[in-house]
């Protein structure tokens, strides 16, 4: 292979580094998008025959969101291999122990169960907050858009914005506000 062809090969298969902000995101829906980038399925060169996967840096994993009381009924199972070694950990407990674990497991579970799985997981870097080591943040080339907007609380709006919002109805006179 000539020098120019070799460079062309390197250029096409350059590893990209993507950033994903997990704040207020569903970890299981996010895992699908993250895995798409880990596999390289977002590139037209993807064909299953070449390793074209990218790195993904996930930040704010401690601020992920789950629906309803899913924190209480989603249970993670582990077995040490010894008799009586089974443990069941609720999602909120696991998240308290390690805030990166839920999104890691969601991605691990969603990937194909073959020899590529561990290598792809090595390219996933999860951080519980937005403090990223310098040697990682300097690699980042682009950002994955979030799946849904981060909701705003009422106190985040300015007084002017609140007053500008149209008033749809008036409370009846006998209605008592606390």
């Amino acid at each position: 292979m000539s020098a120019s062809r070799r460079v062309q090969q390197w250029l096409t298969f350059t590893r990209q580094w993507w950033l994903f902000d997990a704040k207020w995101q569903d970890p299981f829906e996010s895992a699908k998008v993250i895995n798409k980038h880990l596999k390289g399925a977002h590139k037209p060169i993807f064909g299953g025959h070449a390793d074209c996967g990218d790195h993904v840096v996930v930040i704010n994993s401690q601020d992920i969101a789950m629906r309803g009381d899913e924190w209480y009924y989603r249970v993670y199972f582990h077995h040490t291999g010894y008799p009586g070694g089974a443990t069941w950990t609720k999602a909120w407990e696991l998240h308290k122990k390690d805030p990166t674990m839920i999104i890691w497991k969601a991605c691990y579970r969603d990937l194909e169960k073959d020899l590529t799985r561990r290598g792809r997981m090595q390219r996933l870097h999860i951080f519980k907050d937005s403090n990223i080591p310098k040697d990682i943040i300097q690699n980042i080339t682009d950002q994955i858009p979030q799946l849904r907007t981060v909701p705003k609380r009422l106190k985040d709006y300015s007084q002017e914005e609140i007053e500008k919002f149209p008033k749809l109805f008036d409370y009846p006179k006998e209605h008592v506000l606390d």
């Binding site: 399925a41 977002h42 590139k43 037209p44 060169i45 993807f46 064909g47 299953g48």
Partner: protein, 152 residues
């Protein structure tokens, strides 16, 4: 050791003897099992079963290969579309939009164009985007391409 290679490769005479020699019938099967591991290579009762199973896999693979290739092309078109952002729904809108614009390219060609000729693919993508806008093909559409007046 007796070297039988010459004997085995000996070309059979064009006029066959009328007798049915099972050796030659088995040799047809052993030719197919020559690359198997273990006794499935040389023992008849194992080899015939393994060869029959292998031929069944081959027959199934003919269908699977076609489906796999279509999946790969669809995937390439989809990722090309989503990267450009005009057609977030991917290959479905693109193929429909191009077909309605009388651009008769198949999945294989478009998938190859996405990799090999990205500028052509982008132009085709814009055509499909404009057509999708006119005929309401897709539910979600990306931004309207710049430099296009909006009519085909």
């Amino acid at each position: 050791m007796v070297n039988l290679t010459r004997v085995m490769l000996w070309r059979r005479p064009s006029v066959r003897p009328r007798t049915v020699d099972p050796f030659w019938k088995k040799r047809q099967i052993f030719k197919l099992s020559s690359h198997f591991y273990g006794r499935a290579r040389n023992c008849w009762s194992i080899a015939i079963r393994r060869v029959q199973r292998a031929l069944m896999y081959v027959a199934a693979g003919r269908k699977i290969r076609k489906q796999h290739m279509q999946d790969v092309w669809d995937q390439r078109i989809r990722s090309g579309c989503q990267e450009l952002g005009y057609l977030p729904e991917g290959e479905k809108t693109m193929l429909e939009g191009l077909a309605r614009s009388n651009v008769l390219l198949n999945r294989q060609t478009l998938g190859n164009l996405a990799v090999l000729e990205p500028r052509t693919f982008e132009a085709l993508n814009k055509i499909a985007r404009v057509r999708a806008n006119e005929e309401k093909i897709a539910r979600y559409l990306g931004p309207f391409p710049k430099g296009i007046l909006g009519k085909l």
